[in-house]
Amino acid sequence: MLIVWVLVSGLIVSGFALQRTLSTSLTLVLSLAILGLAVLGLWGVWTPALSGPELALTPLRSWFVLVLGVVAAMSSWYRFGYRQHDEAATAFWLPIFLVGMLGVIAAQTVWVFMTAWEVMAITSFFLVVSHHDRPGVIKAGFIYLVMSQLSAMAILSGFLLLAAQLHSMHFTVWAAEAKSLPLGMKSWIFGLLGLGFAIKSGVIPFHVWLPRAHPVAPAPVSSLMSGAMIKLGIFGIVQFLLIDLGTTSMVWPIVLLTAGAVSSLLGVLYALMEHDLKRLLAYHSIENIGIILLGLGVMDLGIDWHRPTLTVIGLVAALFHTLNHAIFKSQLFLAAGAVEQHTGTLDMEHLGGLVRTIPAVAIGFVMGSMAISALPPFNGFISEWLTFRGLLSIVSHSPALWAFFALGVALVLGLTGALAGMCFVKASGVIFLGQPRQQVKQAAVPKSMSWPILGLALASLGLGIFPGPMVRIIAGLEPGLSVHATMVLLPLHVLTLAVVLVAAAAGLALLSRFWEAREVPRWACGREAAPSMQFSSSSFTKTVRTTFAFIYQPHRNLARAGRYPRDFPARLVYRGGTTPTWERYLYRPGYRLAWTLSQYSTRIQAGPVRLYLSYLLVTIGIMLLALH
């Protein structure tokens, strides 16, 4: 059993945490081994080694192992150059975290799955709080832990419900028999499992942990969490809810599409307001999970309506976007880590002009920005195009209300794409272009940090130009679904499009002799030009803040300070911001309720052991009575 060996070796790797180079190398080897497993599983080279009663890799699972392997390998490589506080703790937890994620994907029974899930949740908590001496990190980690546990409980209850219905804890049995469950029962299971997986993926409104936990973690960990870990929620939805359960109530495609539309739109809107680069990227993870959910919604509709074309387009769009997002998001997170190591800050308002000091990272970031904004010829373009195509296929040949709904969702996706483009013009422009806004330190960024970023950039370019093989693999993942997969991408002619585009751009650049230009001072209306005259991150998005004021509910406050503040203010203090709607109106009341309830529970939780023993006794008595 190959998987078991990989899992065990991961635990051994974490034992070498104190030797930096050795431990980093071994983690890289472990990641490459995971990647190897994915290759074996996807191309079916050596399948007997990958199947077993407890752990097995089906083609669909191998796809997610591929996502995990790519991100893990690049993040491990990056760690050779990345300096951080408390190196050994990360080196200890990281291999176990990888093992946990591999275990989740390969699990074949409820017990293995839940154990691996908890290993993943708890190790990632320890990784998040690596910088525990900084303010706010422990609180962020704690919120993350609570949300993880809520997610695990929801999944466990869903699993137990399913297991009780089918009298089996084994996933292969579920795959065979879950389709025959009554629709009402399927809805309960869909709701519980969907809630659990949605929390783990950061779907709005369960996203509050994500923009807190991702930014405080070290860059390779953020990259792994955003690139791989939140995708396991997507894995759960595809495997258990869509493929295993089969036809469900028509409510669920609507729920998936609505959740996807809301997450993608609000995710990108919140991202626009961020000045901290990593928080901005974290909100974009929410947006992209939303786009993946749109693909899954199309797939679910295809299953319910028995339209295999829809099913395949939805599946391909969602899974391809899963891989693509893993690639360009870890690329951007790693670039953010490089920026932090180079300048010592992630606050965009202090940065600027980094393209001259770290050119390789800047190229990687701009390419990643193009990929995440779904611009040709990068991979994000292909998967977002597929999602659009899926939504627009619902528009035709459907009942009128469905057509209207699908067109509305497609418009939201269009709006999301445009906002994402704007957000990354802002991020690239403010951080890397123009004149530096403040003096910051300029530490060197080693090659071992910039190469993984550029490697991922090349991967996203490659997948954008040659998506064919990958699309064919995804369409063949579930044998029951395979429809003429090559037809899915027509009439795009990706290769021609990319070649013509790049050739035209290169030709024009040569024609315009871009290297021949004299540098002159910029125009500042005849005044001395200053760096503070440039647009900052908040002034760039002022227009959006005004246009979408009904969502942001912005507030600002101009206070007078000094000895005689009313008549002779010594200085003016300006504060502005947006209202954290979900925290204020959903989580704050929930938290208060939990607090109040726990006050009541102290009445029966006085502490003495005798009391608890008597509770146990009474419980057993009641159970015996009930069973009698």
């Binding site: 779904a374 035709s396 057509a403 009439p491 002619h493 585009l501 871009f514 021949e516 647009f535 998005t541």
Partner: protein, 304 residues
Amino acid sequence: MLWLVQIIGTVLAVALGPLFVGVAQTVKARLQGRKGPSVLQGYWVLAKTWHKETTVPQYSSWVFRLAPSISLAALLVIAAMIPWGDTVPQAWPHNLLAVFFLLALERFWVGLAGMDSAGTFGGLGASRVTTLGTGIEPALLASFGILWVLSGHTSIQPIAPELERMTLGVLPWGLAALSYALVVLAEAGRLPVDNPDTHLELTMMHEATILEYNGRFLAESQVGIAIKLTAIIGLGWVWLGPQLGSPWANLGLRLVEVLLSSAGLGWVESRFAKLRYFQVPTYLAMAAGIGMLAFYLVVSGGIT
């Protein structure tokens, strides 16, 4: 044969772009009682700018120098994708969604160049242009609403013949055309959304992003503006306008239609004042709403 029509159509669309802009300017001048420059003025200006010395602002990088070429390349590919005859060769990309994404690519690089000019105006223009883009993209999708429901696919290729067979009545067609026209005004940066003639910082959007450009880079940007106008007006006529039998006749018809539309553009520009910037989202939402209305008329009428 198809290839030949397509290539000649693309070349003509690119070459005649400045002429169409010139026609709009001339019509506008005449309606305002001025004589106005020659319709060929665009070409003279281009020739002059191309031969001038090119400078770049201090603190700008390779992004600033490459952005005009990348934006222009995206617009050229759009122009090449429009079926100027009635069909595109099969092996050529012919996808409507790809047009949207290429427009986004152009906007992205225009924005980056604005940010890279390290001045106030560049950032201001970048912010305004990208914000405008967030309204344009959904409105453009909505104005094509009828198309999605009738054809069920996203290729430009068989749109026209398929629509030809549909007897929809005037109302949905008219609404869709109105919606598309409103979006074209915004996308091409014309009044009442953006004023191509001013250089006052309160009013300009696209002009602000290219304020620091001159010489060859400015020439590229100006060619780009002309091509964009020609291509998106042409695309509108491809699916809303009448079709003739032969590809050559279609090509000729398209060019005449674009010419007439440019004259119409001049008329619109002298009739309407520029909108306040924060009313533009409302304007674009209205365009999207009209497109959705046309869509609703088709869907509810049972035509599928």
